[in-house]
């Protein structure tokens, strides 16, 4: 078994009296590509946001190489630099150029020199096919391009794990492909990824494991072959059949 990077133990989250995550348990090993699927409102995004502490978990632990990230005094900035996140709504910095978007984190958080940061940023922008656009501002490029820049921004921090929160849900159908292609390449290169997605084909073909969530619990977790062809739980069957019917 590859090295254990993230260990989520009994994680729960409530917003007021509304409990959105119950007792979530799973592990992320180096090189895993885990897709998290499920209906809207099943807690997928909240789970991802808890892992990056954009939401404070209400209970349980998230261990990163054995250290609990919810402990007081944990180096949160350093952790976030190692766990990249790509958002549904891109969240690029609108005042900065494409290049600067990928440079600012390296400069401020990793304290790299400008030259070093820029060359790394260009390398990753090249990888996602956005190298010609380094001088553009986010408002000047399309949604799919923005999302590819957002991926390059996350990669520029050279993270150990990348979290994707529905990266294609805000995109036109023809732009979905360009983003999924980039993600597919990353998966093949061995990037550890945790992907919340409604793209069943991506979950089936690219991931090494699939987690199906329903009502804030992990309903079923398996390899994509098993989960898509012979789901064990009735809920999984119903979700998949509804999805395939669409």
């Amino acid at each position: 078994m590859a090295e254990l990077i993230l260990d989520v133990e009994h994680l729960s989250k409530s917003f007021g009296s509304n409990k959105v995550l119950h007792d979530i348990d799973f592990e992320v090993h180096k090189g895993d590509v885990i897709s998290i699927i499920g209906a809207s409102g099943s807690g997928k995004s909240t789970l991802l946001r808890c892992i990056n502490l954009l939401e404070d978990p209400s209970g349980g632990k998230v261990l990163f190489h054995g250290a609990d990230i919810t402990e007081k005094g944990f180096n949160l900035a350093g952790y976030r630099a190692k766990v990249g996140m790509v958002f549904q709504s891109f969240n690029l910095f609108s005042n900065l150029s494409v290049l600067e978007n990928c440079v600012v984190g390296q400069r401020k958080v990793l304290k790299k020199s400008r030259a070093e940061a820029e060359s790394l940023a260009k390398e990753y922008l090249e990888k996602v096919g956005m190298a010609p656009y380094i001088n553009a501002k986010p408002r000047q490029i399309s949604g799919g391009q923005k999302q590819r820049v957002a991926i390059a921004r996350a990669l520029s921090m050279q993270p150990e794990v990348l979290l994707f929160d529905e990266p294609t849900s805000a995109l036109d159908p023809q732009m979905v492909g360009e983003v999924l292609n980039v993600m597919r390449d990353l998966a093949q290169e061995g990037m550890t990824m945790l992907v919340v997605t409604h793209e069943m084909a991506f979950a089936r073909d690219v991931s090494s494991r699939v987690i199906f969530m329903k009502d804030g619990i992990i309903c079923e977790e398996d390899t994509p072959q098993n989960l898509f062809t012979m789901p064990k739980k009735q809920e999984t069957k119903e979700f998949l059949s509804r999805f395939m019917a669409n």
């Binding site: 990056n52 404070d56 919810t70 969240n91 910095f93 609108s94 958080v109 553009a136 921090m157 360009e178």
Partner: protein, 261 residues
């Protein structure tokens, strides 16, 4: 009518230089006051938007809470009282407590800055809150701290959105420095009062003064519009490639390269 023109000519020939000096002081006081006020406003606005999470140490929570209460009191005090009273209060207060008599310039800068700062603090808070919280999350997600996020991402955008309001403040200050004559600041209004008193030409002197104030405010307004335009930047950008066939969607080059492999 010809008497009125005669009066104006008389005021101007006798005291033209004083008007210009007064206008100069008005400009300096309102510019410096607005700039320092903006700095105060940005500082207070940043402190008021510091997020506190439950994982922060108790010391940080207490310090931030106390700072926020002090800032809030400052804003309410100076936004909620007239500047003319603040001028008297600060001028004589400093004299009373520290036994220092402030000169004209320090007194004027102090009053205008703290007054502008109180208004700007609220404006900056609004400006910060108006920037899409997604960008703050994006910055958090790559490990940037609150201060780093503010300086590199949020404030430059908030600043752009606040320029009309900064302009408002500058124009208000150009006019409202007139109340400083109560602590003997010899600004444009002070000159007007002196000239009018010396020559008994109230209407003529007021007309000259009105025109000078209007010139100042309209100029300020034009300059700020230009700054706004400049900060918006170019609406076009250069593709960083020598390939003239590079497709504008950026996708074709990507796919073609992949096929070559």
């Amino acid at each position: 009518m010809s008497k009125f023109i005669d009066d104006i000519v008389k005021c101007w020939t006798l005291y033209g230089e004083s008007y210009i000096d007064g206008a100069g002081r008005t400009i300096v006081i309102s510019l410096v006051g607005t700039i320092i006020g903006c700095i105060i406003g940005f500082a207070v606005g940043i402190v008021q938007t510091i997020p506190v999470s439950k994982n922060d140490s108790l010391a940080k929570k207490v310090v931030v809470k106390i700072l926020k209460i002090i800032m809030r009191m400052y804003v309410e005090l100076f936004r909620g009282t007239p500047m003319i009273v603040q001028a008297v209060f600060l001028f004589y207060g400093v004299q009373m407590i520290w036994d220092v008599t402030l000169g004209m310039w320090p007194a004027a800068f102090l009053v205008v800055s703290v007054n502008t700062g109180a208004y700007m603090a609220e404006t900056v808070r609004g400006g910060i809150n108006s920037i899409d919280p997604g960008q703050t999350e994006g910055a958090k997600a790559i490990g940037m701290t609150h201060v780093q996020t503010m300086l590199s991402v949020i404030l430059p955008q908030a600043f752009r959105n606040l320029i009309p309001q900064i302009g408002n403040n500058l124009i208000i200050n150009i006019k409202d420095t007139s109340v400083l004559s109560i602590i003997s600041v010899t600004d444009l209004f002070f000159v007007h009062k002196s000239v009018a008193g010396a020559l008994y030409k109230y209407f003529a002197s007021a007309t000259i003064t009105m025109l000078i104030y209007l010139t100042l405010t309209v100029t300020a307004s034009l300059l700020l519009r230009m700054l706004e335009k400049k900060l918006d930047g170019d609406s076009s950008f250069d593709l960083a490639t020598t390939d003239t066939l590079a497709h504008t969607s950026g996708m074709l080059t990507y796919h073609e390269k992949k096929k070559d492999k």
